[in-house]
């Protein structure tokens, strides 16, 4: 699917849930979305237009916690980065494991490293830090020092 076509389609489908959609590089797309719509959008990308979920990247920034869900359209080589911003206090978002199992590990990892809560995760539990780290310590946050 062409980049412009993708932006048109996703904007038409989700309307004001898409806050901004732009082509950032040759074949890279950045789409800012409403946090509440993430499940529907992921469902559409995975099940309707068959984009492959690559991984999600969490970031700790001045704005709060940001997550970029990276989806690949393997037929065109385009990568769609779906971007959400969560608040500093109680960052939480619906879990994509309700759409596809591939989000299982990375969401558990983001929870342990950044302290983001994924609601309705189908397989909650520690991935990396079982018995190793103290509760409530999130080493990938910017304010983490030791």
């Amino acid at each position: 699917m062409e980049k412009e076509q993708f932006i048109e389609k996703i904007t038409a489908r989700f309307g004001d849930k898409i806050l901004k959609a732009e082509i950032i590089k040759r074949n890279r797309i950045l789409v800012d979305v409403d946090t509440n719509a993430i499940l529907d959008i992921a469902n559409y990308l995975h099940n309707d237009i068959h984009f492959r979920f690559i991984i999600a990247s969490a970031l700790h920034t001045k704005e709060g916690f940001e997550i970029l869900y990276h989806f690949s359209d393997d037929k065109s080589g385009n990568i769609a980065n779906i971007h959400v911003v969560l608040p500093h206090e109680n960052p939480e978002i619906e879990s994509l494991t309700q759409c596809f199992v591939a989000a299982d590990w990375i969401e558990r990892e983001m929870h342990e490293l950044f302290g983001i809560t994924f609601l309705n995760h189908t397989n909650p539990g520690k991935l990396l830090s079982e018995g190793n780290w103290a509760e409530g310590v999130y080493p990938y946050r910017k304010d983490f020092t030791k």
Partner: protein
């Protein structure tokens, strides 16, 4: 986690292959469930990268994995060059692809050897590893290192492949091609290997879609994806090659994909060498002075599948965020599909079929009784059981 306490040699044991624990819950001979524990060796590389300059990060990400040590710098370079909007010179493109493909050859040979070992074919193991050596010698000749070649930088490569070395590379490729013929013949025509690998550890196309698996694991199930073709970079759009796929989704199909991919790699390298001969020596980089603020997503098809790097920069000389996803991260999760319902003796090869990264991660497999949860055998015993199964089949032929 009571089970962890039962294991006599833990995931940290130096003789074990991976500090990652897989538990096979069995009912009699049949595997009923698989569980795993990871994080024994979490090195915090993503966080560490935030404290390094971009140049230093190349050496850091190269050390994520020893076997596919050039795949991470490759993907990282793609991400950084996307941010900096840099086009590398053709000579650097050829060199990048040559290094990447040589790595694929030695990595696939390593897998063929290990798969042979798990099945009780130690001759295959010794042959495959023997003919992997000349490829490593090539790396030594080109970069000075048999591993962790430090070839990549933003804007190009660190070392040239002088035209005088091309004949030697061609010589090794000829040898590897002959020996790949030998291995392919030995594996594809052996009825015992067919009996041990066909219909074993099957992953359907739907499983691949659900788990978003990548690389030979996906291609063996008929999912035609390959980053080198889908998102062209380096010299891949400049040469003629094809993506290998198979339909079975079983261990045999995965072996087939890897073996045939080695021929494609040889083909790619040969054409890249011709490209080098036409190019002027020494033009291997463009100078990149500043990295602007922005985000970059770079990926590369490592021997095990897509390596993905996400980088966010804010105008300083180090990444503000660097996310890395290795292919085994998504491929290992497919064990839940490939192992369950198999016999224990097929478990070792089913687990090995996705080629989980042995070099940077070590593995410990333990078998538990489904009812009592009691520990029954460890990884070494599991391989022994797999070998006995092959021996039984072989005797019946």
């Amino acid at each position: 986690m009571n089970e962890k306490k039962v294991i006599p040699i833990g995931p940290y044991h130096p003789l074990q292959e991976e500090p990652e624990l897989f538990k096979l819950y069995c009912e009699g001979e049949i595997v009923k469930d698989v569980k795993w524990e990871t994080g024994y060796n979490h090195r915090g590389i993503e966080k560490l990268s935030e404290s390094k300059s971009f140049d230093q990060s190349f050496f850091l990400v190269e050390r994520i994995c020893g076997i596919c040590s050039t795949s991470h710098p490759f993907a990282f370079a793609n991400a950084m060059e996307e941010i900096a909007d840099v086009e590398v010179p053709d000579r650097a493109k050829y060199i990048r692809s040559i290094i990447g493909e040589l790595e694929r050859i030695h990595s696939h040979l390593l897998w063929v050897g290990l798969a042979g070992h798990f099945l009780g074919y130690d001759t295959v193991f010794m042959w495959a590893w023997k003919y992997r050596e000349p490829v490593l010698d090539l790396f030594e000749m080109i970069s000075g290192n048999r591993n962790s070649y430090a070839m990549f930088k933003i804007g190009g490569v660190r070392r040239d492949i002088e035209n005088a070395k091309i004949a030697k590379i061609r010589g090794v490729l000829d040898l590897v091609k002959k020996k790949t013929d030998l291995l392919t013949g030995a594996i594809m025509d052996d009825p015992v290997i067919h009996a041990r690998t066909k219909g074993v550890g099957i992953l359907s196309k739907q499983d691949i879609m659900d788990y978003c698996a990548v690389g030979p694991t996906a291609r063996a199930s008929g999912v035609d994806i390959d980053v080198r073709r889908d998102d062209p970079h380096a010299a891949y759009p400049l040469v003629d090659w094809k993506v290998i796929t198979a339909q079975g989704g079983d261990v045999f199909a995965k072996a087939e994909v890897r073996l045939l991919e080695m021929y494609e790699s040889i083909k790619i390298i040969d054409q890249c060498l011709k490209g080098l001969e036409k190019e002027k020596e020494g033009k291997i980089e463009v100078v990149v002075k500043n990295i602007p603020a922005g985000i970059g997503t770079g990926h590369y098809e490592a021997p095990r599948g897509e390596v993905f790097h996400f980088v966010k920069t804010i105008g300083t000389n180090s990444p503000a965020r660097h996310k890395i996803r290795a292919p085994s991260y998504v491929n290992i999760a497919t064990f839940k599909k490939s192992c369950v319902g198999q016999t224990i003796s097929d478990a070792a090869i089913s687990l090995a079929a996705v080629d989980p990264c042995y070099c940077c991660t070590e593995r410990m497999a333990a078998v538990y009784d489904y009812g009592s949860g009691e520990r029954m055998m460890n990884g070494i015993e599991l391989v022994e059981k797999s070998k006995r199964r092959t021996e039984e089949i072989r005797r019946n032929y």
